[in-house]
Amino acid sequence: MVVNEQVNITTEKTKSPHIAGSSLKISVKELSVFFGKTKVLSDININIFERKVLAIIGPSGCGKSTFLRSLNRMNEEVGGNFTGKIIFDDEDIMKLDPVYLRRRIGMVFQKPNPFPTMSIANNVVAGLRMNGFRDKKKLKEIVETSLRQAALWDEVKDILHESGANISGGQQQRLCIARTIAMQPEVILMDEPASALDPISTAKIEELIFELKKKYTIIIVTHNMQQASRVSDYTAFFYMGKLIEMDKTIKIFTDPELKQTEDYISGRFG
């Protein structure tokens, strides 16, 4: 898909920046999300580009996580529903089976959550095994390549058969990333992936994001402004369930259009 036409149509409304040389992966149109009668997000329009990192920033409760969870239809598991459209590779996600959709759009959570009853190796291939993939030789290869991609291989190669819960928090989070990569998704959603980690582990995750964007489209929710400015190509600022401003990261952090954005970024509120 060529980006120009698509983006030009929506740029006015979405304030989405045009990213040259990248095609459109997900297009969110007029998205509003409800939990019961509470409207959590209203009229979000965002274009997400292939092999770029989109950072979503905003104060707690602004709907960042809800937005992220709309993309892989996780909200409906906890009673959320939405209006509007999310187009993923020309297809309406509501027309896709959620299980199939989530294989293509992986997710990494805030708190590392490896399965404690499985070994490190089995954690990596948990998704594949439980989807009926049983070729032992292939699985072994995937364990190694995924752990290498998640920059964890050297640390765990000798303890692959220990429980996934026996390694440090930072390692657990990279294990969760490896588990997500093993499914070979196209998009990876990250919900504050480093907020429960120490600075060294955080730095490792950020380096990893840099590597991963060569292959995957990444959307990261973060509370950490520096992190957003370091890892992302473009940034969306959410406030009270609305998309306030979205632009290239360098523009958002140096010369935002709106005062509200500037105030948040400079720490004057939120």
């Binding site: 598991e77 199939y100 293509r104 959550n113 009853t117 439980m130």
Partner: protein
């Protein structure tokens, strides 16, 4: 440093005394809880051990007046009864517990939960009467199957509620991790949630089995008892508990002694059962 709020010295004494008194009372209560078990072990072992020999585990009971003999039929009978009860009760209990915790947030779930709670409070003899009416009367004779069904009914509420509670303790984040990996919900439930909760569920199963193994009342008019060797589940079957009841109330000294031995054998059987069950269900990784 000067104290801002000078306290009177006697307050400390008062607190210390109160602390000492309460601690002593708690210790006493703790001792009282272990006393009955010590007595049970003391009496069953001291009175039962003399008859506990190879014959007891290999021979059939002898007629009145004849000494010796054993209770092999009752030991095997109890095992068969527990197996039937567990064979029905464990799957039903686990599945209904899983339903309640994973899908039971509706009116039907509330109803099932209420019924299970009431069922767990029903006296076991009443369950026996019901099994008699539902199984024994239509089949026209007492049977091991009827006894097993009665035991299953007694096990189900324990296993159901423990399963439900244990599954509820599994963090939501594991389910979400499974969902995010594109794993179908039923596989998440079976391969992640149940597996994580398994240790607690196993404890519930063991509780249910042990309780069932010690039941007498529901067996009196379902499996009845049998003085001969039988492993036919459609025929009356002997059980240790029924023997304990009959032998301990009989006017013969040697029968009374054998009742103690049967009691000891039952305790041993349940201990072995727990041990074997723990070994079988032991998982490689702690949840």
């Amino acid at each position: 440093m000067e104290m801002k709020f000078p306290m009177k010295k006697f307050i400390f004494y008062k607190r210390r005394t109160a602390n000492f008194v309460m601690l002593s009372l708690s210790l006493l209560a703790a001792l009282i809880t272990i006393v009955p078990l010590v007595f049970i072990f003391y009496y069953t072992i001291s009175k039962g051990i003399s008859n506990l020999n190879i014959d007891f585990f290999t021979k059939l009971p002898t007629p009145v007046g004849e000494t010796g003999g054993g209770m092999v039929n009752a030991i095997v009978g109890t095992i068969i009864l527990i197996a039937i009860g567990g064979g029905i009760g464990i799957p039903v209990g686990i599945m209904s517990g899983t339903y309640l915790s994973e899908f039971g947030k509706n009116k039907f779930g509330i109803l099932v939960r209420f019924f299970t709670d009431v069922l767990s409070g029903i006296p076991s003899i009443v369950v026996g009467v019901v099994a008699y009416t539902l199984v024994v009367i239509p089949m026209k004779h007492f049977s091991a199957l009827a006894g097993g069904i009665a035991l299953a009914i007694l096990m189900i509420p324990t296993i159901t509620r423990t399963t439900e509670e244990m599954i509820k303790l599994v963090p939501q984040s594991y389910r979400e991790a499974g969902l995010a990996l594109g794993i179908p919900k039923w596989k998440i439930t079976v391969m992640i949630v149940l597996k994580t909760a398994w240790k607690g569920i196993a404890t519930g199963i063991l509780l249910g089995l042990s309780r069932a193994a010690g039941e007498t009342a529901p067996l009196l008019f379902t499996s009845l008892g049998n003085r001969f060797w039988s492993t036919d589940i459609f025929q009356p079957i002997a059980s240790l508990t029924v023997y304990i009841y009959q032998y301990s109330t009989a006017p013969f000294k040697d029968w009374n002694d054998q009742a103690w031995t049967a009691a000891l054998a039952l305790i041993l059987l349940i201990s072995v059962l727990s041990l074997v069950f723990r070994i079988i269900t032991r998982s490689k990784y702690k949840a």
